[in-house]
């Protein structure tokens, strides 16, 4: 384990106010690729790494969630403060690096002052110096260092400027600490009370008045800089800047009293419809690739169980899921751009009021939005919600957000329902599904909120205080990097699972009746093959299993083959499409040998009655099922961990899956009642 190595080298802990650039610096020093987002509260868990060899420092670096002060209020803040005082495996840090936004000294200096007075060895890193430079100002590292009695260094996290100085400082500090005797660290709760909070801020105001200075001697700039300085030094007015002017101008529109909410809805709508629009051409390309690969195999090998295993089991299985990688890529890309722009905090503010009506919080917005990518990080992101009940409730409803694993299912069924050349309609339909899933989660949340006192014990007051960061142009390569990594993880996580399940399912549909006996007289080879396939499946293990679930599937207009696929979707939703591909290719009565999955769905019939299986009603019914059902074991596990008990995850599984079945029943039979087959 990590302990052995960690004990031998010094531990350097990064702490700092939210959104001050900790993770950016961590990535810079460790060469890692953790997510950096222009939203206060993007990191919610600590992680460690060695510093890159090129910097020549033997030390373990720890990144932590943002904290405003040393007295934590939410779980993510507690993670950070605990990593300073009582980390379970790593112990207390030898050196603390605290990042401070140099444009916000008058707020951000609170934390370093608390750290120094508690007895930590502190290096202050001033970030965002490039933004400060746009105002022709800089911070005097010397003077700040003298007044705070610790080392100070300025860096630009985006261009790496100043990192060399930081490395020198880390080295000299580590040297000093080695020889010095260990200082006593006082828990901050002992020193802090409300009046000395005020004293600390007085101290900060004096320091801030002293440390800003103009950069250039250029005359025109000097004038503007001096004006800014005057504002600064005019103690009575405001000890700090006015907020970024461009940000205020943008907010005049984006947070407009009337337009603000419409813009919000538009932004969200465009985000989800564009997934389909942009991804469609890419999807067609991947689809063709795999269809061709499949026919290549069928043409070049003798028909036999091995050929079927490769073509039906492996190629169609993997292909049917890889087709959807472009969509997932684009989902991550668009969300990434949105996150790094700074808009998320505005979204949280705009939606705080409506969400608080149903027992949630504006801070639930970001976890819920990331729930559209994956429920697992989303549940962990809920740690930023200080109120316990609101946090548990947010975790509770996150599985109702349609995660990216459901995209393949939606995309397949949309493609089935809508002619291929009508991509814009598909985009709207997908947007509609997301809209519906959002609306239904609101309704469900509203209903559950009525019973919430029984589920989550109510305690503490609700609060919403959130910094609105300045807008930034998204850092494109960071976003692309992150998109690449999440998509890679998606494939690595889903890939083996899909392959494994494809093999199991293939086995279940192929055995025990390997050599079925059929009447061959007067039939072409192809017809014989199809007959054999049908006969084989009829007496397969899968069909035995299917007969057990058939009674549950008939009321919702489906048959056991979909049922088997739905069950396999409990391992991971992505598996649904590949198992559909498998069971339906096997039973397909299509004459063309290498029929696509869509074709096999069109011709599929319900065994007993011979009716068409995938009608408009059942397809919509299936979409509805996936909107509600909780079919992801990892989500259940994370829910258990984050809520600290089995109660919430078990309720989630039963309520959401029951609801899915019920809603599908209503949809299919409702549609049929109104004449839609």
């Amino acid at each position: 384990m990590k302990i052995d190595t960690a004990l031998q080298v010094p531990l350097i802990t990064l702490v700092g106010p939210p959104n001050s650039g900790k993770t950016t610096l961590f990535n810079l020093l460790s060469g890692k690729n953790y997510k950096t987002v222009n939203y206060p509260g993007s990191t919610v868990e600590y992680y460690t790494s060695r510093i890159l060899p090129k910097y020549n420092i033997q030390a373990e670096l720890l990144d932590s969630p943002g904290i405003v002060s040393l007295l934590p209020e939410s779980i993510d803040e507690k993670v950070a403060v605990d990593s300073l005082y009582s980390h379970p495996t790593l112990g207390a840090p030898d050196l603390v690096i605290t990042t401070i936004d140099s444009c916000q000294l008058s707020r951000h200096l609170l934390l370093p002052i608390q750290l120094v007075s508690s007895g930590f060895n502190v290096i202050i890193v001033l970030t965002m110096t490039d933004i400060l430079a746009k105002r022709d100002l800089k911070v005097s590292e010397n003077r700040l260092s003298k007044s705070l009695n610790c080392d100070v260094v300025a860096i630009n996290g985006r261009t790496k400027q100043g990192v060399d100085n930081l490395i020198k400082l880390i080295n000299s500090n580590l040297e000093r600490i080695k020889t010095a005797e260990k200082k006593n660290i006082l828990p901050h709760s002992l020193i802090e009370n409300k009046t000395n909070l005020l004293d600390t801020f007085k101290e900060i105001e004096e320091i801030v008045n002293d440390v800003y200075e103009p950069i250039k001697v250029d005359k025109i700039n000097l004038k503007t800089a001096n004006n800014e300085l005057k504002v600064l030094q005019d103690g009575s007015a405001s000890n700090g800047f006015t907020p970024d002017e461009i940000t205020i101008k943008i907010d005049r529109v984006l947070l407009h009293r009337f337009w603000g909410f419409l813009v919000f809805l538009l932004v969200m709508g465009l985000t989800f419809t564009s997934i389909f629009w942009i991804a469609q051409p890419l999807m067609n390309f991947v689809d063709e690739l795999f269809t061709n690969l499949n026919s290549l195999v069928l043409e070049n090998f003798e028909p036999g169980w091995l050929t079927f295993l490769i073509s039906d089991g492996i190629i169609s299985g993997t292909g049917s899921v890889l087709v959807f990688v472009p969509q997932i890529l684009i989902l991550f890309l668009i969300l990434g751009l949105l996150e790094d722009s700074g808009y998320l905090a505005r979204g949280a503010m705009l939606i705080d009021k409506p969400l608080s009506k149903i027992g949630l919080n504006g801070r639930s917005f970001v976890p819920m939005l990331s729930g559209f990518a994956c429920a697992i990080p989303a549940m962990i992101a809920a740690r930023t919600i200080p109120n316990r009940k609101e946090r548990l409730f947010t975790i509770f409803i996150i599985p109702l957000m349609s995660c990216s694993a459901r995209l393949p299912v939606y995309a397949l069924l949309i493609a089935y329902l809508i002619p291929k050349d009508n991509a814009w309609l598909g985009g709207f339909l997908l947007g509609g599904i997301y809209f519906l899933s959002t609306i239904s989660s609101i309704v469900v949340a509203w209903i559950i909120n009525k019973f919430s006192k029984r589920i989550f014990s109510d305690e503490g007051s609700s609060s919403f205080i959130l910094e609105l960061p300045s807008y930034k142009i998204p850092k494109i390569n960071a976003v692309i990097n992150h998109t690449y990594n999440s998509s890679k993880q998606y494939i690595l996580r889903a890939g083996p699972m899909i392959l494994g399940f494809s093999l199991v399912l293939w086995f279940l549909t192929f055995f025990p009746n390997i050599n079925p006996q059929v009447e061959k007289e007067g039939l072409t080879t192809e017809q014989i093959q199809n007959l054999e396939r049908a006969e084989r499946l009829e007496h397969s293990f899968a069909s035995d299993l299917g007969k057990i679930i058939q009674p549950f599937m008939t009321p919702i207009g489906m048959d056991w083959r979909i049922g088997v696929s739905l069950i396999s979707a409990f391992a991971a939703r992505e598996v649904f499409v590949s198992s559909l591909a498998l069971t339906f290719k096997v039973t397909s009565e299509d004459d063309e040998e290498q029929s696509t999955l869509l074709n096999s769905l069109t011709t599929a019939k319900i065994g007993a009655t011979g009716e068409k299986l995938f009608t408009v009603a059942t397809s919509i019914g299936l979409i509805v099922f996936f909107i509600f059902a909780l079919q992801c074991l990892s989500t259940v596990a994370v829910s258990r961990k984050e809520t600290g008990g089995w109660k919430i995850p078990i309720l989630q599984v039963f309520i959401f899956t029951g609801l899915a079945y019920f809603m599908t029943f209503l949809t299919v039979n409702g549609l049929r009642f109104f004449g839609v087959q």
Binding site: R107, L198, R257, S463
Partner: protein, 73 residues
């Protein structure tokens, strides 16, 4: 006495004191709302709540019920 919750659109005010009895008062102070600071209401959300206040050069979104404990001169 007026509070930050009663500020009009684009109106400035100077903080006189923070109501310590409010459960969020400590967090509000940690964000930099201390007596003597000038604040300005920059934006209101569509539903009039929360409001965005500029303090020490930063925009902070805060619910009206919490802004109510920021007393103005």
């Amino acid at each position: 006495m007026r509070t930050a919750a009663e500020l009009n659109y684009r109106e400035k005010g100077i903080i006189s004191e923070i109501d310590y009895s409010h459960p969020s008062s400590k967090r509000i102070m940690e964000h930099g709302f201390t007596p003597g600071q000038t604040i300005e209401l920059i934006c209101k959300s569509t539903f009039n709540d929360p409001i965005a206040i500029s303090i020490r050069g930063t925009l902070i979104a805060i619910r009206k019920s919490e802004a109510g404990c920021i007393k103005l001169k």
